[in-house]
Subunit: 305 residues, 4 copies
Amino acid sequence: MKLPLEGIVPPLITPLKGRDELDVAGLEKLVEHVLGGGVHGLFLLGSTGEAPGLSYRLRRELIERVCSQVNGRVPVLAGITDSSIVEALNVAGCAAEAGASAVVASTPFYFPAGQEELIGYFEHLSADLPLPLVLYNMPGFTKTMISTETVHRLAEDPKIIGIKDSSCDMIHFHRLLLDRPTREDWTMMMGPEELLAESVLMGANGGVCGGANLAPRLFVDLYSAALRADVAEIRLLQRQALQLGNTLYRIGKHSSSMIKGIKCTLSLMGICDDYMADPASRFHEAERQKVRDAVSSPEMASLLK
Amino acid sequence: MKLPLEGIVPPLITPLKGRDELDVAGLEKLVEHVLGGGVHGLFLLGSTGEAPGLSYRLRRELIERVCSQVNGRVPVLAGITDSSIVEALNVAGCAAEAGASAVVASTPFYFPAGQEELIGYFEHLSADLPLPLVLYNMPGFTKTMISTETVHRLAEDPKIIGIKDSSCDMIHFHRLLLDRPTREDWTMMMGPEELLAESVLMGANGGVCGGANLAPRLFVDLYSAALRADVAEIRLLQRQALQLGNTLYRIGKHSSSMIKGIKCTLSLMGICDDYMADPASRFHEAERQKVRDAVSSPEMASLLK
Amino acid sequence: MKLPLEGIVPPLITPLKGRDELDVAGLEKLVEHVLGGGVHGLFLLGSTGEAPGLSYRLRRELIERVCSQVNGRVPVLAGITDSSIVEALNVAGCAAEAGASAVVASTPFYFPAGQEELIGYFEHLSADLPLPLVLYNMPGFTKTMISTETVHRLAEDPKIIGIKDSSCDMIHFHRLLLDRPTREDWTMMMGPEELLAESVLMGANGGVCGGANLAPRLFVDLYSAALRADVAEIRLLQRQALQLGNTLYRIGKHSSSMIKGIKCTLSLMGICDDYMADPASRFHEAERQKVRDAVSSPEMASLLK
Amino acid sequence: MKLPLEGIVPPLITPLKGRDELDVAGLEKLVEHVLGGGVHGLFLLGSTGEAPGLSYRLRRELIERVCSQVNGRVPVLAGITDSSIVEALNVAGCAAEAGASAVVASTPFYFPAGQEELIGYFEHLSADLPLPLVLYNMPGFTKTMISTETVHRLAEDPKIIGIKDSSCDMIHFHRLLLDRPTREDWTMMMGPEELLAESVLMGANGGVCGGANLAPRLFVDLYSAALRADVAEIRLLQRQALQLGNTLYRIGKHSSSMIKGIKCTLSLMGICDDYMADPASRFHEAERQKVRDAVSSPEMASLLK
């Protein structure tokens, strides 16, 4: 794996057919769909992948299938975020065996931890990991912000190779960029797709854009425009990306709306099933109709082709 | 198991010797210590038990050992709170085999769920559970409050037998009491020990008091005084209970302070090890000395004997 | 004024006829209504009194009218909570001239302050106050909790005579009671009426019950039952008090629902107008009908007579 | 006043000599300092101006003095944010008489309001305002977010001419830009200076940068670079702006740290006093020394000249 990681690394949704059953055919189509759009890597078992809602058996199956299918075309990153370090390491072991390139871990997410506790945790984790580790800042779900000082401390560990920031706090991300570790392999990825363009303009390496499950090319193009500092093109593509989210991610209520919207759209595109892990459930017909209406507009259809 | 559950049901801390190793001898002593204090049940694998930080293997071992040791002397409840319903059911299956009396589940704790999602979740869970289910309201860690309306809906399911409320929101608990389901077997337990007395005075069935790991007799006596509405005695014992917490639970920083204080005290009492699951870690010597000083006061020593 | 303050001290709603116009006749009726119910004091210009939404001119008029009407029958407390200490002192000066017994101040509520800032603030305030000061803990609106340590420090100032706690955090209140300053004149009042009974049972001096605007006798009786530790009577009256709130305070949305419910009910009782200060507005007819239906039940009618 | 407003409009700190006394000479120097740096307008009585902590008398004096001194060289905006609409209108009346160009109002900040309440509030306010109104989104202090839908509704009122967004939520700001009202006079200003560059790159009209009290030229240059889409220059100046904040705004604790840091630096620059309105207080000598050390570095000195 070339470091730093660069480009668009979609947090893959997990196609399911039931509570503990992968949609195997859908998963294969989805992987080819996003690779076909030119993405630079895949991130399995993130929040968008509903990882915390899946059994460990299914997580292992997912990692193995995708690593095997991708077969080195792009790096595959596997999420190991867990409230138990033992289980996180178990998933990491499976990822190493399957040929993943790195693992991604947020903070334990039941008890909110202090910063010195986080430092200890990631040091313990890293010491026993068979793969490089990307930090994952996701305070909205974990209740714990990884501070800039903590990132700095952890960047002394060569096995920790970067951070994906999903705090939605752009000021925090600017501070991370300002005090960026001097290592040449250090990777900084933006989580929310709405903040991809400005992050890359300011020096980030890329983004983990949920919308790239649907429209991989759009986000690859936006990333490229930002790399070139082509502001006119950025504004145009940013509008399309925002429109995608405004149209498809806010139909339901609750924190699951974005994932439901993506899965429902993918099912309408004929790519995979839209079964959701408990406690979420797929859209009912009324909401599905809204998605159908949205994606049938010429503008949206051209984004999703 | 007689319903409703009544009395003091300590949320047992989990004695550990290492990252994935139970302190078996310590666990045995701890169980006899609390049973010796007259408690009315045991609750394994709650927040105080650090459940989310433990491997599933260790959780199973804990359930089996405690059920075997208790051998029917009091009901044993097993926590199955999980972000994945499949894993929650796996632990529940183990609890049923080991002879536990009921399971206890909070909401999935990564994605914050809506109330209708919660209703669906608990219905799905209950349908496949081999044991009765006690709801567990713990919004401070799960980010999701179980509303009074949701409790009402779920109380229509005969397999759901009650609720443990750890919201720290006494107004919410009064509303739960006011609209108590009319079932004779419905159990209402208060979580925080500081609110035990008034909860029982107002009609609750008992409490899941963390401090009963240390001073089981104190909380059993406080429960009894509340049952008898002996307000003078309540005030006296309540002072002692509050003093216990003020002295021992607030030495560290972070949400882990209470558990660290309990474990450190138990280790000084010669009962069990104070190893903490990641990302927490046991008190350093300076903090341990504070605990040593606190428990050596005659007043505290008499509570802990 | 006898200290500590004791009993039921309603946070009087402010009857308005328009944006900057008191409902003078309604105010007179309301004062006699609550005094007729046996309350032990009046608290003007609290949150329930919509104080932050009123002009200073109107606040002064309110204080003068009520002090004059009450004419020493019970102590009158005036809220001076403000984001500006200068304006807080201006209102306090008016209260002293009008004959109020004490003032009540929460923390400045725009910038959230630190505890040492709070200590400085209340010391500065107290130094220039012409009347004794009751602290008011209202973190839900001010974003700032007054910690037990801060209360302790401030209790060294003889002009600060107690605290009204509206944190809704009963554990915090127990800690305040446990570490109660040893002064004989120190007053501890509970804010939320749902927590009045247990607070008095455990040693508080009384409550600032919003519902006493409507049903003063009910809360006076509940206070008396708690003083006598008559638990059977407490349970009975507590149910009625909770029912009152469940029925009347939760009809609207937003934080203004309780005040709207009280004002609407008072207007239906023929006591005063239900005009609300901006940005709230009185109930529309649909919501008003719900209140009408509620108060026409025989049970509710007997509480409100 | 030309609309939309454009460029850098510093939220002027309020130089004080005491609790209710302006530092008149310091205020004059400060105004010339920032105008000398090329700023495009002045915003009085914002959060950085400590407005909620000041008496109304002092607010009026401030508005009059600054309007008189500026004498039309740039537009002067006056903050009227208040928990009472009557008092907000009083300040607005004074601003109109003094010759201010517009007023700026956030939501009432004691009771958190619902969106329909906000719409009503701003309509009531606008109806009686003698000047155009800029909305001010500041949920960190007011507890109330002005939603994109609410902004859209309010943009139908020609007297409401734009919004300053200080939510620190860049995703929200992108949504505001995406759904920008089609009026040619509509102004969109970014609050936090860390987000100025990307906001202007994406189409905003400018920023209300607190740091422009200290280094007006830096922010004017950053704004210009963003207007020209000169990404290399933006990165350079953005680093300097971030460094300024990292060095000077985070010395104290609490929400007042930024204002304290700015005032302390201005006092070391010989511009004005650093007295802070209650409950904050100026830095003690140890913190002042840190500021002194910071500003004596050649890099910082060149920014602040």
